[in-house]
């Protein structure tokens, strides 16, 4: 069982798309690959064949992997209900509502055990899993309640790739700061970084990338060019993004897969997929 995890410097850094693209890539290479995201905060959900509710983005990632979505691809879904209330969907079924107080340690432990069980069920008999993290892995105030980033990477011993969005500016700082705030074991699992949404001639980044590579002692795996892509909502709460994708006729899923293939084509040569593949076994 091979694993690879995608974590982001921020929300909306491109984790969802990158995870889908990796799923697609491994699927096209003939691997039996599945997507996994422990926890999602989203209003956009999808109902699986077995009647479970998961986030729509895992459903799309499943289609990219050539399989139908199942509820264990996204065991925890948090659905904001307004005025500080959230519904937690666990294993595809409403579990309980939480208020402003959020979760307590006891609930966290229970959620964690559900996540690991789903993960094991999902991976049974598969070649490979691509795991998507959530938000930033170094929100230091939330670390003891983490169920979706480094806690998971450690628990399942998965190598991690960090993606940063250059569009906002400060991407070097974001990537380096994320690394600096990780502990030894976490840095050990972190194998490389990717810069996303770049516009222009990537050679102007050269000096910066070299400096980061030597400071962090790990490779930059790619500078991915900006591609307009209607990803089904990153793990953000931004409602404005929801509308993307549905234009004209035809099956939206088919259309989206075609777009994803187009994206992979445009990314070709801008990232080192053989290096990425190499990481998978390096834990």
């Amino acid at each position: 069982m091979r694993k690879l995890m995608v974590q982001g410097v921020t929300s909306g850094a491109g984790k969802t798309t990158l995870t889908a693209a990796l799923c697609r890539h491994f699927f096209m290479k003939g691997m039996d690959v599945v997507p996994f995201k422990a926890q999602n905060v989203s209003l956009n959900s999808f109902v699986t064949d077995d009647g479970g509710e998961i986030a729509i983005s895992q459903a799309y990632q499943a289609w990219a992997s050539g399989i139908e979505p199942t509820r264990n691809m996204n065991p925890v879904l948090i659905k904001p209900k307004g005025s500080g209330q959230c519904q937690i969907v666990l294993d595809g079924r409403p579990w309980k509502d939480i208020g402003r107080g959020g979760t307590n340690q006891e609930m966290i432990e229970e959620i964690r055990s559900h996540i690991l069980r789903s993960f094991d069920d999902l991976c049974l008999g598969r070649d490979m899993v691509v795991i998507e993290g959530m938000g930033s892995p170094v929100e230091m105030n939330l670390k003891d309640r983490d169920v979706s980033n480094m806690w998971l990477a450690k628990a399942v011993r998965s190598p991690v790739v960090l993606v940063g969005d250059i569009e906002k500016g400060g991407v070097f700082a974001g990537i380096y700061g994320t690394y600096l705030l990780m502990d030894e074991e976490e840095r050990d699992l972190l194998k490389g970084f990717v810069i996303n949404r770049f516009r222009g001639d990537a050679s102007i980044l050269g000096a910066g990338i070299e400096e980061l590579e030597s400071r962090m002692e790990m490779p930059c795996l790619g500078v991915l060019p900006y591609v307009r892509f209607s990803s089904p909502q990153e793990d953000s709460m931004d409602l404005r993004q929801i509308s993307g994708g549905v234009r004209g006729e035809g099956d939206v899923r088919q259309r989206w897969i075609k777009e994803l293939d187009g994206l992979l084509e445009k990314w070709e040569g801008t990232w080192d997929l053989s290096k990425v593949e190499g990481l998978v076994d390096r834990v």
Binding site: G12, F172, A173, G174, T178, L180, L181
Partner: protein, 616 residues
Amino acid sequence: MINPTTPVQDDSETNYHNNSGSLRSQMSRGYIHGDKDCPNFPCHHPDQNCTFCFCPLYPCEDPLLGEFVVSKRTGGNVWSCQGCHWMHRDDVAASLFKMMPEVGPEGLDLKVRMELKERLQGKHRRRAKAIMVLGATSGAGKSLMVTALCRAFRNRDLTVAPFKSQNMSLNSMVTDQGEEIARIQDLQAKAAGTRPRGELNPILLKPKGGVTSQIVVEGRPYRDTTVQEYYSKFVPDEAPAIIARNLERLMRSNDVVVIEGAGSPAEINLRGRDVANMYVAKLAQADCLLVVNIDWGGAFAYAVGTLALLDDGERKLFKGIIINNMCPGGGTIGSLDIIERKTGVPVLAVMPHLPKLYLPVEDSMDLSLHEGGEGATVIAIVRLPMISNFTDFDALGLEDNVRVVYANEPSELNGASAIIIPGTKNSVTDLKWLKESGMATAILERAGKVPILGICGGYQMLGRRIMDVHGLEGGVSAEVEALGLLDAVTHFDSYDKRTVQVTGTLDKAGGTVRGYEIHMGRTERGEASPLFIMDPDGRGEGMLDEKGLVMGTYLHGVFDLPAFRRYFLSLMGGPSSIATEAMDQDAAVDASLQRLAKEIEEHIDLDALMGDDDDA
């Protein structure tokens, strides 16, 4: 005292003491502002105060204010006041005027002069305190933070100026002197209570489409450049001197200069080529604040990473980190002390998401931030690929019942109560897009049914054709068929750019309009009537078709004053549309600035920020 025609002062002390008569007549003249009748005006800067043309403190021999130079006449050392802006500030001159004792035939003796200077110095800094706001990313909220600081310091009766060494912006405006600066610096000047001018934003880079940008220096078009050439030539060769001279002037004529950085200071691929961030911080020896947006997540990482990538000298300038855009009800964030442990810089404040203020947002291409309002009257702005000056429409979003949306494709014009074609960086290529995207057809279908307004480039597109024989817009010589809704033809026949602030009257309904023109090309109106009658010469501006439903104008900011806004909304008819209480935009901006200042006072200890260090 100052002779602007020679850079070196030729006064000697003896010479000066013979002038005690001038000092006395100057006192009897009384306190004045700028002496615009003086043949030498302005000998320091256009906003100078001329009460003390002859300085009663001369020669103060204070190296923060003037300097010794070699006299051309005598060859000896002489005290020069050429660089002194202190004595020519309104507040300093007013204070000194009140303090002045009777001047006898002997002038003022040294002791009196020293005492006066001491007292004056106690009230007014000789060199500004520099505070710089840098962002961990773009859109971190730097611009608003600077705006808020400017107003808060202004509220303490300090003389304040905002400064941003280099701005890349599509939203520029024109000052009363015809200087072009980024709109956000104009707002910051308003917040600071100082005149908007090129000095505040000495380098403005305006993307022109493709790889070309126009460099505007001190408010005036300088030349066109490519990004490559900008960084390899302009930045190392020319930018430092431009930045230094403008910053120095501001440091010498204010109590506080609030400086804004650009993007992130830790773009390590640009080390040594970034003149908008730490370069300026070091030049001004500014107390730096790092603003980190918590909205996207990753705030811990950005704060720590940004500071870790700076060198020790740079890091030492940072006095605090401001976590910005905390969502309401977000509670407190634990573990913030980790940031100080890792970087040595404390977190000074966690600022809430600022309530929706009526202010143009930080220069961002994120138009969704400009979409606004909640009403049933939908005004669709055509989202041209090279759209510019989209702050023009912020005022509409303020009206009750109005919703401003950006239409990316023809179907998004459905149901719109009015359509606006906005300004563009390139009329010719955007007109091509308009036709190819089907947007042109959709607009033509609606002509005569809903009001259609073209502003600047949009106005040019509404006409019959655009003649660009020299290829100034499109790169190749072209004569382009436009939408033909207005009987107008636009010619691009010279590389001249019109940048001017204007006022006038709405021809149809009366009422004042105010705005500014920034464009190349001139438009010939056929028989149709103009939209506005401009001051002072009664020239007609813009035009209106026979039915009065298609309009074009070159005026940016045309909706800012209520008259035209009200008129435009009234054309949409229907019970839901007419705004009864037309709002005064200037008053709204000022109220917003006060709220902003209050917000920052609540979260940041500004007295501590100013410190008790004196200006020496």
